[in-house]
Point group: C2
Chain length 399, copies 2
């Protein structure tokens, strides 16, 4: 209820709603936009004209094959992904993914780097990011605009400046990731704002917008590699916490007599269902084995691997049950290494939840795999980078 | 962005904002309301005139001693609690509290009933509620309006009709509490809508509005009697979950080799920090002892009681740490029996959190006791009953 220029504020909100709609849902006819927003046709026309003039959307006549009814065809409004894009990076313990993602969410160019597991010094990350950024920017059309840079990292991140406060599995503590990437972007002549966020939070965001969480406002996205974390959508909004550090479900204690965790606690969920726990259970710790290999062996009938996966399934059921009791989600998505593991233990987890615990929080939950495969996190990084543009399509770069 | 009567919608929202403000914050001058809302003076005057005509507020000249500056004194807008009230009930395992609460949040009349611990059949609850409702309505001014009935219960509640899906410690399952209370109210000639909610959720709501959570948008209210639960405020809004069943932190497993819980799980947090666990730890299970007596004995130097409380403190630290890792709250409030226990174990809990777990979610959290004492839940029940009136001050009863 600010007193300043209310009409302008309303217009900007309408522009934001329209651009966000075509960004998430793709090409949409003016008639559909009219029905969706309750605005009249001339207002929609004026708004889309503004977005067209800013090269954010393109309007084309509706394909006569797909339109219904007689009368003049409605124009179709589509995002101009080749004109406005973001750089997105997904930093993992043993990989770095980079992409140019256009308005509308399409990956237009990408680079993947795999590296040995273990410490990934910030200086190395910055060298890799800079190289990929240069390559990807080099392939972008000359007149296109980079509107933001989004970075996913398995860390607790201070949103304001992208300081990675704690990333135990990268062996980082108070690492100035945001500042480092902003400097790398500036060296390349860029001025786009840099947004660093926790990887699980971004995975949840992307799955909610474009993946297995579409249509639900209560989504828990659990992901694991070396570490385990969750991103949560509540009432259609991301759970953040006071400092932005919520969702650290990997560091909730489920087994107080269990193993010591990197965080100093004993028996964190991460120590029971993370990668190390799976390798341990299969007796492969130290060997050059991956979780995928253990899962494949279990599927092929190897008893030791099957027993190991069942053991992990028991602990997965406990942690999943805890999250269901706390959040009462409609959809629970299993990302990261759980994409491999969960299909083998689904029946076990479901059976545990059906027979134990208070039932009302459990009765409507669906367990699914990510709709975006291994790219949930990368695409979430793109979404956060599009945030300011989508919030204020004509004023975002004058802030 | 509905197309229907936008001006009327704006006016109704403004009326809602004003009435909610004076309901929560008490008498407020028109000048302050102008500054708070950004609306101009004549608009504020027109809106408060409408609220005055509906007997929702009273406008009186500002006390000359408290006003500042020269010029004409600004009128002060105050809620008319004696004209519009709710009935609020807090149903516990061994008590029933009932109150008439006026607009503005003041308790105008109340009745407390204590009963032996154990099963509390719905039929008994309804008899007690009906008697208290009759007594309390009998003392209300003849021209006053009951705008709603709010009920807190230690249960998982279906919000739409107040069905108590699961209340293990009352020994209820799918108990039609909402319908029963609506029938009791109707017998008394009332037509006010009935709102039934989980007790911990209501405690969190009241503490956020009027208690120890004022000024923070990230609040976890943990409460225990026989059972243990939490209400959570995230970004200023109550956490609900898909079916309204979130916050069941008492039924998260923290000790898989521990005791069997009423819910069928083993080692729920409730089995480690609930009333029974405290009595067990002190060796008083079955004796006629209360947690308050054990706490008093521990304070007086009784070693066995002190050891028991320290044991509970260890489990409290584990569960509190888990909640902090998940929600990253700014304020954590200890209600119910934790009002007695927490002061004795505060140092123990704080020390555990300072030395274990990822630190960023933990660094800003404050641990406090309820600002509303034992009445958080009862006052939360009143708030939910005021909800429709506050959302639409002039149209709430025509819905």
């Amino acid at each position: 209820m600010s007193g300043a220029a209310p009409q302008d504020a309303v217009r900007r909100r309408h522009l934001s709603v329209l651009l966000r709609h075509v960004h998430v849902h793709g090409p949409t006819s003016r008639a559909e936009l009219t029905a969706l927003t309750g605005l009249n046709r001339s207002t929609i026309g004026a708004l889309t004209a503004e977005l067209t003039a800013a090269a954010l959307v393109r309007e084309t006549p509706q394909d006569s094959a797909t339109r219904s009814g007689a009368g003049r065809p409605s124009l179709v409004v589509a995002p101009r992904g080749e004109q406005h894009f973001v750089l997105a990076f997904d930093i993992g313990v043993d990989y770095l993914f980079a992409a140019r993602v256009g308005l509308g969410g399409k990956v237009l160019d990408r680079r993947d780097l795999y590296r040995p597991r273990g410490e990934y010094p910030l200086s190395d990350v910055l060298v890799h990011v800079r190289r990929f950024a240069a390559e990807i920017l080099g392939t972008a059309p000359a007149q296109a605009t980079c509107v933001g840079v989004g970075i996913a990292v398995p860390a607790l991140v201070r949103h304001a400046d992208g300081l990675a406060r704690a990333a135990p599995n990268l062996v980082w503590s108070d690492a100035p990731l945001g500042d480092g990437i902003a400097a790398a972007v500036a060296e390349l002549g860029g001025t786009a704002p840099v947004h660093v966020r926790n990887d699980a939070d971004l995975g949840a965001l992307a799955e909610h917008l474009r993946g297995a969480g579409v249509g639900s406002d209560y989504v828990v996205y659990v992901t694991g590699e070396v570490g385990v974390g969750a991103g949560v959508i509540i009432g259609g909004r991301p759970l953040t916490g006071f400092g932005g550090y919520s969702g650290e479900v990997g560091h909730t204690v489920v087994n107080p007599t269990g193993r010591l965790c990197v965080c100093g606690l004993r028996g964190c969920w991460e120590t029971e269902v993370g990668e190390k726990a799976i390798l341990d259970a299969a007796g492969r710790q130290g060997a050059r084995t991956t979780v995928a290999e253990i899962v494949a062996a279990a599927r092929a009938g190897d008893q030791r691997s099957a027993t190991a996966i069942r053991h992990i399934g028991g602990w997965l059921a406990i942690g999943v049950g805890n999250l269901v009791s706390i959040f009462n989600p409609e959809v629970m998505i299993f990302g990261g290494l759980f994409r491999e593991v969960f299909p083998l233990v689904r029946d076990q987890v479901v059976a545990t939840l059906q027979t134990t615990g208070l039932q009302p929080p459990r009765e409507d939950v669906r367990f699914v795999l990510p709709g975006l495969g291994a790219d949930s996190t990368l695409l979430g990084a793109a979404e956060v980078a599009f945030g300011p543009l989508l919030a204020d399509p004509l004023g975002w770069d004058s802030m």
